[in-house]
Amino acid sequence: MSLFKITGLTKRFGAMAAINDVSVNIEHGGIMSIIGPNGAGKTTFFNLLTGFIKPNAGQILYKDQDVTRLKPYQIIKYGISRSFQVVSLFEEMTVLDNVIVGTQRNMGYMNRLFARYDRQKDVRDKAMDILDRVGMAHMAELPAASIPHGDRKILDLSMALTTNPETLLLDEPMAGLSKAERLRITNVIKTLSQSHKVILVEHDMDLVFSISETILVLHHGEVLACGEPGTIADNEEVQSAYLGREVA
Amino acid sequence: MRKTIFICLLGTLALFFAPWAATSQAQEPIKIGVISPVSGNYGDHGALERAGMEMALAELGGKILGRPVELVVADSETNADTAGRRVRAFIEVDGIKLLMGAVNSSVAMAVAAVATERQVLYIATNGNSDELTSSKATRYMFRVAPSMASLGRAAGTYAIENLGKRWFFLTHDYSWGHSGTRWAKDVLTKNGGTEVGEVKFPMGTRDFSAQLLQVRDSDADVLMITAAGFDNVALMKQLAEYKIHDKMKVVYTLQEFVDIYPLQPQEHRGYYATEVSWDENDQLKAASEKFHQQYPKAASPVFDNGNYNGYVAIMALAEAIEKAGTADDVEKIIAALEGLEITKNLRDKPTYVDPRTHQFLSKVVMVEGNPQGSGSDIWKIIRTYDATQFDMTPEENPIDLTKK
């Protein structure tokens, strides 16, 4: 059975259909990239998948369980987690505390009334471990608001790991990163993809075609094409959509 | 960082209490704690009350039993919660044993609660609610203004005898308003009148068009109103605007000179019960003249309920202290006050203090608005009743403060 089974998914904002009758199956394992010009509905697709907004029509099955109507904090339990296109952090907390918020929830410590959050050794260790994996351990005590943009993007990604998910939805994790940082994150994504299913929204075509097993092309809220990088590369519709010629 | 908080705490505490520390002088003055509104919407009513007190004190030469008297004022902000706090500070810090004042009943009740707990004397000047001298009466509280029983029944008696038998009631919807209507209804039913209808309107109502349309729609020949404060000023204007006076006679169970004075002459229409009228006798006329000179900016140019009650309160306290021979023993002063005949009340007949209910009993004056009048001549006296005739009888009000 496939990981995601999406049938007839539609979401309209007023007259404009951001996602128009999308039906696609997403398989287990490896990296899948979603590409498409700006405004193709990629972020809306992510919002629908993670329950942040409710679709007007259609159904989403995750491992054959219906998650269409669930809210984000319920979908997390199924092992789905996401990072954000526009960095979304807890600005007044330190880098470590940002991650601790996730790990303490995951370890079930979140409702302790009298246990001091900064003295829970096991929660801190798990958080530091996650920061190690993305190479940010040295920034643990810095306020999240003061670290450079690149590191904030990586912190956003690492917070998605705190709910030890099976499926990771990363919304443009590379946007605004320096060359070195892009390399670092690509390796992180590669190692993650062994253990997790990674769904990536990305504009960097060489990166997309080099690391992804399957590619889904969205255009005006509809599925233009879905398949191996090879078939997508020489698909005229995809090229015309990107080169701006309207399909006849 | 820790030390800064500590210093800041101590600093503000010390800063707060400086002014009060400096008030104790050599010869021990008699301190009277006056609690009435200073700021806010009712500030001018409070000022009027205090002016009456100051004037009475001046006439006594500022001394009782030879000791100088000092009026210590606290702002009640027409709020029971704040008034209670300020009065407690009076008692605990300044050791004040004599309290006075309050423009509305909720503040009077709050101060009475503190006075009972701390066993100090409190003379409520202007709260009219019945509870003050019935269900919530306490040994440590006296009340100068007549109860709504006297005012309501006086207005009701005059109306039933002269104006008509079909009444419509317009009631300010809080406990004071209810008591005014209750006593007027008492007179109505006892004299075979019929109640055509009643509308209660909430505090803070500024627009009475809805209520007055209902009044016009009824075929009553008397509109009995119990309303006070700024709502009442707006109501008076709209009574004229909707030409209610053409259709029926308008009667107020209590009206303040201060509320009507700023209105247009043609809005001075209707029959009102009031506690005092400045032109009752020459003594009051002279006193009003003197009052206007000393306090030109006061809310009322003449003696109105507010300043008259303040005046009588000081005179009563002075006579009681003289009779008791002490200004410090509260129990003795209470005993002296009970049954006291207050002669310096600018009236021909002294005010009698009923020992059973601690209610000051004097007169209730019925007046009729004078649309042609100008300046202070806004109404003319049509009947004077003796308050004892209408106050709550022992059956209606079983309270007896003389029994321990």
């Binding site: 918020v101 409702n111 | 004071w176």
Partner: protein, 315 residues
Amino acid sequence: MRRLLKDPLLWIFLVFALYPAIPYIGNFISLGSELLLWFIFTLSFNLCLGQTGLPSFGHGAFYGLGSYAAAITYLKLSGEGGGFLAPLVGGIVVGTAAAGLLGWFIKDKRGVYFAMLTVAFTQVCFGICWRWDEVTGGEAGLSGIVRTTFLGIDMKNLHNFYYLCFVVFVIAALIIRSISRSCFGLSLQSVRQNHIRSQYLGYNCNMYKFVVYALSGAFAGLSGALYCLLTQSAFADILDWSKSGDVVMATLLGGGTVSFYGPIVGSLIFIICKNLLSSLWDHWLFIYGMSFVIILCLFPTGLMGVFKRRAASKA
């Protein structure tokens, strides 16, 4: 032990433990008790505003309902026979129930709408209490409540009652502080700072808002009940939204949004300056209004915000 000495809460406890002994200031014993109750109320209010970002502009409703509940429990239940605990429990129960009920209905609302719904709630309560003569005594309020003995200590004595309030304040302050520093406290902070990200980490934000609102209602009910016993009466005036505005102003003045001690410093200055100003000048409201504007314009995060920023710049 050394760490304990550096803890500001300990210094605050010390100051207020010695408060009655302070030469001149100590005479204001009732004001002292009231300050302690006001601290409990503003600290629990700050659990909503400073910790979870809930602008509860009608929080006075739970304080007022708590004091009414205590008065009614006393008059109906324990009567003359004494009974000091029943009114306190009544206050807490009604405070929690009212906050829970309102919290449940507005748990998904945010910002201005949340604030206005709480104001609507407190105004409706005020309207009802002001008119319901049979139960709440209407405008004349409820009186005739007498502080009897509690655990063998005669509560009529003001100093005993002051120290009862002090003990309750110490317990409440420790509980609230530990909550604000606990894992649960961090969860609340995550709801305030970024409720979208917090949902994606698995937190049911609306439920947290409801729970913290009910919890703070309990403390507000408790302080309201103790206030009723202090004044031995209960009036509808506390329920008016301008009273609720006072608690918000005090917390902001002190810097509640950035520091746990903000509400304490804020309410201390707020109550004292209000009393001090009003004895100095008839039109004190003008200074009061203007100074509030100036302070908040210069120090948006309130006084404690200034201390914190200077401490941070030194670090």
